[in-house]
């Protein structure tokens, strides 16, 4: 009835997707049930893998989750963070920049 969206080239039908998702879920459950049962809870197998070292309180807090990703983009992200300088003068400056850009684009 009202479930399908036509998007020019194809369509998006949520229920068909759900049926497919259920199929995949069943498949994975089947695979999972064939797996080995003896997972030892409470042993070292449960600790998060902190690149091999032994860490006494291995709780991977929120900031650490993307430590690597953020570190790789350090120069770009630092510059982006400094753009948000908190000084109102800069914000008005950006407004003036956009005003100039639109004026140039439209008047020139």
């Amino acid at each position: 009835m009202g479930v399908e969206i036509l998007t020019g080239q194809g369509f998006w039908h949520a229920l068909i997707w759900l049926a497919a998702a259920l199929g995949v879920l069943l498949l994975s459950l089947a695979l999972w049930s064939m797996g080995r049962r003896e997972f030892r809870r409470g042993t070292e197998a449960e600790l998060p893998f902190v690149s091999g070292e032994r860490v006494e309180d291995p709780k991977v807090g929120a900031p650490h989750l993307y430590w690597g990703f953020a570190e790789a983009l350090r120069p770009f992200l630092e510059r982006l963070r400094n753009l948000h300088s908190g000084i109102i003068g800069d914000y008005v400056g950006w407004f003036a920049v956009i005003l100039a850009v639109t004026l140039l684009l439209l008047m020139a």
Binding site: R81, S85, G86, I87, I88, V92
Partner: protein, 115 residues
């Protein structure tokens, strides 16, 4: 050129106000810069309605046959002034509260909302 001199003055006022916002660091001066821009825009609005040799657009005891200045821009300017009063009062109130917390009005030092 003399005809649209008022419009040039308005643009100068607005540019001056914008410059104040960019250059000045004191919160109160920013509010003053804002009121500069407001007066520039309001002046521009009022001068739009000017009719050469027109009298204020009021019928009470109006001389016969005199052309009248357009009343609509004046009404717009009135509303804009009312809004300007409200915005300025709100900004000044927050400036006072910021001063009470931080002890300074310098935008360079009021920066703990970064990142």
């Amino acid at each position: 050129m003399i005809g649209n001199l008022p419009f040039v003055v308005c643009m100068i006022l607005i540019a001056l106000g914008l410059w104040t916002l960019l250059a000045k660091r004191n919160l109160i001066k920013l509010v003053i810069g804002m009121s500069l821009i407001e007066s520039g825009v309001n002046l521009f609005l009022v001068t739009l309605g000017y009719v050469r040799g027109g009298i204020p657009p009021i019928y009470t005891f109006a001389p016969e046959g005199a052309p009248m200045v357009l009343p609509t821009p004046q009404a717009l300017t009135l509303t804009s002034i009312v809004i300007a009063v409200a915005t300025t009062a709100l900004m000044l109130a927050f400036a006072v509260v910021i001063y009470r917390h931080k002890g300074t009005l310098d935008t360079r030092k009021i920066r703990d909302l970064r990142g």
